[in-house]
């Protein structure tokens, strides 16, 4: 048995085994929407699309919270900025219909600017103050989105913006059913592949960032800001960069969300969304990319499974006692507390984090 394990460990390091693993994962990801469609129905393919969006958001927040150790509780504000930017520039609201490939970088850029705008005055603050200020910022953005329908109607207030253009690349519309090589791709399938490609890009950027000079500077700041400063890191600029970078990921996924849904309203950008994304990062393992992805997948798929609780309650007690949708957040909150108490480094922590937390337990 031990022999087998050592063989497996050796095999795992072989280059061809690594590529084989990647190929298998890639193959599975390509087939996933069709398998899901066949097994569980179209609505679950839509859930897959949302999962990919959440992975992007979680990876963005991971840069801020996981790498740089800055607790941001208003992350959804950047998602909102990206979504509303897309919605305003590609809908009948102002009669503008900019193409998708300009909107995507624009969304990243504007969200990035908002990140700097928020970060510049607040990054001098210690962690917990920062948490409160970002929380307030998230709420301010939502209050403004809710009220900017008077005197000049910009955001259309609580009704939100609808009839947003679907995402188009050239003549290829993602929201229409397409025939490619005799295979039928419905709109949710199209979006799945688009989101998958962008998610892989964001994962790639995250991994490259993590091992870069900047990434190591972020980790240094997270571990000990004073020491990092003594090592010659310009902590203010580097933190600002983390904020801007995380915000730009949020902006991109916001734009995708708007194009995908065709409708945005302030209700989608509630504080609970920020907390949901934070939960994904914390649950998976702060600062560890595979862990964060795991957290995002778990927390976007499991709440959907809660809808089966309603019939279960009926079967057990004869009626629905607690509305399953009310349970979603309750379980989320409990999970946050329990994870912090029992596995403070998350479900799948990075080796460094695990060592660090073990050290903290001893002291």
């Amino acid at each position: 048995m031990n022999d087998l394990l050592t063989h497996w460990r050796k095999f795992k390091r072989e280059p061809y085994a690594v590529w084989l693993g990647f190929a298998l994962i890639g193959f599975a990801l390509v087939l996933l929407p069709f398998a899901t469609d066949a097994a569980m129905g179209r609505s679950w393919v839509r859930i897959l699309d949302h999962t990919l969006l959440y992975i992007m958001l979680a990876l963005g927040l991971n840069i801020v919270v996981g790498f740089a150790g800055l607790l941001d509780l208003g992350y959804v504000a950047f998602f909102a900025v990206g979504a509303y930017l897309y919605a305003l520039l590609a809908s009948p609201q102002f009669g503008l219909h900019l193409p998708f490939w300009t909107l995507l970088p624009l969304g990243a850029l504007v969200a990035c600017m908002f990140g700097v705008l928020l970060g510049a005055p607040t990054l001098r603050l210690r962690g917990d103050y920062l948490a409160i200020v970002t929380l307030g910022f998230g709420e301010i953005i939502r209050i403004f989105l809710n009220n900017l329908n008077a005197p000049v109607n910009i955001t259309n207030g609580p009704q939100g913006l609808n009839m947003i253009d679907p995402i188009m690349l050239g003549d290829f519309s993602f929201s229409r059913t397409q025939q490619i090589l005799g295979i039928t791709f419905s709109s949710v399938h199209n979006y799945y592949y688009l989101f998958l490609a962008l998610t892989l890009l964001i994962i790639f950027i995250s991994i490259r960032l993590e091992n870069s000079r900047i990434g190591r500077a972020w980790v240094a700041i997270r571990e000990d800001e004073v020491a990092a400063q003594a090592m010659g890191i310009n902590t203010r600029n580097v933190k600002l960069l983390a904020f801007a970078m995380g915000a730009s990921f949020g902006g991109v996924s916001g734009g995708l969300f708007a194009g995908f849904q065709g409708f945005v309203s302030p209700e989608s950008f509630h504080l609970t969304e920020s907390i949901m994304v934070l939960c994904m990062v914390v649950l998976g393992g702060m600062g560890h990319i595979p862990g964060v992805i795991l957290g995002a997948v778990l927390l976007s798929v499991l709440p959907e499974a809660l809808r089966y609780i309603g019939p279960l309650e009926e079967a057990l007690f004869g009626r629905v006692i607690v509305d399953p949708s009310d349970l979603r957040l309750l379980i989320l909150g409990l999970a946050m507390v329990l994870i912090m108490l029992l596995r403070p480094a998350g479900l799948w922590p990075s080796p460094v984090q695990r060592r660090e937390f073990a050290h903290h337990d001893k002291s």
């Binding site: 005055p121 917990d128 309750l330 989320l332 912090m340 108490l341 403070p344 903290h360």
Partner: protein, 307 residues
């Protein structure tokens, strides 16, 4: 002029409630260096429990104020127990963990409390029954209700009592010692765990009173009311200088006045562009401005950063 006076009076009454809640934040922060995120939810639970008790008692032929008082007397111990439990379960095991950990459990606890309240009491607003006298007095053109006077006086009395407790009693002395240095206080024979527990218990009792006051003042209670109230009270605590009792009181009163003047004048000042529905934004702006220009708050000492 009478509008100005009216807004000042409204602001002071609201501010005295903020101050009560802010005291809970500031006491915990002073001793543990932790933002007790769940404090706003304790206020909400206090309001909900007292309302439930009041509604259950309206059947008896008792005078209104007695029923309200009984509701309060039920809510206070319930909230004390809740505050004690939260500290025991969610914060104590993490006292030596990295800073982020207790903050995240605090957020988790507040989500749990909010949703439990939602499941028990539903999503709708709960109305405060008309049990209290609604006499109104007019002073220099501004009107003030008996309820407002009573809220303000009770809040002031409680704050005076708290100051007496912290400055003059044995418990207060141990609290101050723990705030300065928990290790050394422990060496001097202070039971640090007990002090921390009693801090949470006292803060939660204040929160219960504030919860009842808010629901009586607005005539409403809602499972989500604790979030915004908590944020504003925290802003007030920061404005006054977090960790400083007098600062929390000053900050609360000041924030109440700023908010009510802001909501009253933002419409005319901006020519109707921005209306009073931006009221909730003021607290955040105050918070951000204070943090930028005077992070130690109005009465706080300029201390070096704690690790």
């Amino acid at each position: 002029m009478d509008i100005f006076l009216q807004q000042i009076i409204n602001g002071l009454v609201l501010g005295s409630i903020y101050a009560l809640v802010a005291l809970g934040y500031t006491m915990v922060y002073g001793i543990l260096g932790l933002i007790n995120f769940a404090h706003g939810e304790i206020v909400m639970i206090g309001a909900m429990i007292s309302l439930a008790a009041i509604q259950a008692m309206t059947g008896f032929a008792l005078p209104g104020p007695v029923i309200v008082l009984m509701g309060l007397l039920i809510a206070i111990p319930a909230c004390m127990l809740l505050g004690y439990g939260i500290e025991r379960v969610a914060y104590r095991p993490l006292r030596r963990a990295p800073r982020l950990a207790p903050l995240i459990t605090a957020i988790g606890v507040s989500i749990v409390l909010q949703n439990i309240a939602m499941i028990i009491w539903g999503r709708q607003y709960i109305a405060f029954p008309p049990l209290l006298p609604e006499d109104t007095y007019t002073i220099a053109g501004a009107s003030i209700t008996l309820l407002q006077i009573f809220i303000f006086l009770l809040a002031t009395a409680i704050m005076a009592g708290l100051i007496f407790l912290v400055q003059k009693t044995r418990l207060g002395r141990t609290m101050r010692a723990t705030a300065q240095n928990p290790e050394v206080a422990g060496l001097m024979g202070v039971n640090v765990n007990n002090v921390i527990s009693s801090t949470f218990i006292i803060g939660s009792a204040l929160a219960a009173v504030a919860g009842l006051m808010v629901s009586a003042y607005y005539g409403l209670a809602h499972y989500y009311m604790g979030f915004l109230l908590g944020l504003k009270a925290f802003s007030a605590a920061v404005l006054g200088g977090i960790g400083n009792l007098g600062g929390a009181m000053l900050g609360g009163l000041l924030l109440g006045v700023i908010e009510s003047l802001g909501a009253g004048y933002i419409g005319p000042l901006t020519g109707g562009v921005l209306g009073s529905h931006y009221q909730d934004v003021f607290a955040f702006f105050v918070l951000i401005l204070v943090l930028i220009f005077r992070p130690s708050g109005l009465l706080g000492e300029r201390t070096s950063e704690r690790p």
